[in-house]
Subunit: 149 residues, 2 copies
């Protein structure tokens, strides 16, 4: 699907605040809200707009620890490893990557104890596990949600 500047402007506004009323979006891009509605629908159907998410502070829900975990998997055991990882509570993202690790994960835990259980109890003991490195996030210096538009 081809996106023009108007589409990009709409995306920018909704990426900033997904609950912005279409009528307000229309005002800002100087078009009717029917048009906005139309374009948004088209972008949803084309898979450009994939959803609308409320952002929740992890700390408020008791997740005080967040980490990246790099993982090496034994050759031939990739599929079973991924399947296990997907099912681990706290594992939010599982990416296949080039470089030092085969898999890069993003995990949330309630505490370091909880993270320890997750790593040594579930991940290190799984089928296909080779070795891992846990990079605990001490702080986030900069975070821009979404895509540059």
């Amino acid at each position: 699907m081809e996106l023009d500047d108007t589409d990009r402007e709409i995306l920018r506004i909704l990426q900033e605040d997904a609950r912005t009323p279409f009528s307000e979006v229309a005002r800002r891009i100087d078009m009717s809200s029917a048009t906005v509605h139309d374009r948004v629908s088209r972008m949803e159907e084309a898979g450009v707009l994939t959803g609308y998410r409320a952002e929740v502070d992890p700390k408020a829900l008791g997740y005080g620890v967040s980490a990246f975990v790099g993982l090496r998997v034994r050759q031939g055991h990739e599929e079973e490893a991924l399947e296990t990882l997907r099912a681990v509570e706290g594992v939010r993202e599982v990416h296949l990557t080039t470089g030092e690790y085969d898999v890069m994960m993003r995990v949330y835990a309630e505490s370091t104890d909880d993270l320890r259980d997750l790593m040594f109890g579930q991940i290190a003991t799984m089928d296909g596990f080779d070795r891992s490195q846990t990079m605990v996030i001490l702080g986030t210096d900069y975070e821009e949600s979404g895509v540059p538009i």
Copy 2:
């Protein structure tokens, strides 16, 4: 702020689809929409609900390459390094971490050429740069946006 089960249920619904009308949320949790409105406002003010974001497919905007970049910084040059990184187009997240790197970043690029410019043109030449490792994301096996509720 203390969250009860009703609050959590509201968060779960809005994390799934931030544009769900409050009246619909109210129906699902079997309360009035005035109550939902009330609770949402309280959670926004308390910083539990930090925003609402439309999710956009990076590929649709021409960002075909995504990577994690681990970075080591020369001691005493942390601040200037972070400042530089924040300003690099394509750098979306900058986290301070324990482990093998000092900084873990998440970057988007339009192509491998673009990524090369970003790494060798801007990051490797910056003040305080020690060394880096780029982990290009070949695929994402699992991704659960937001926090487990």
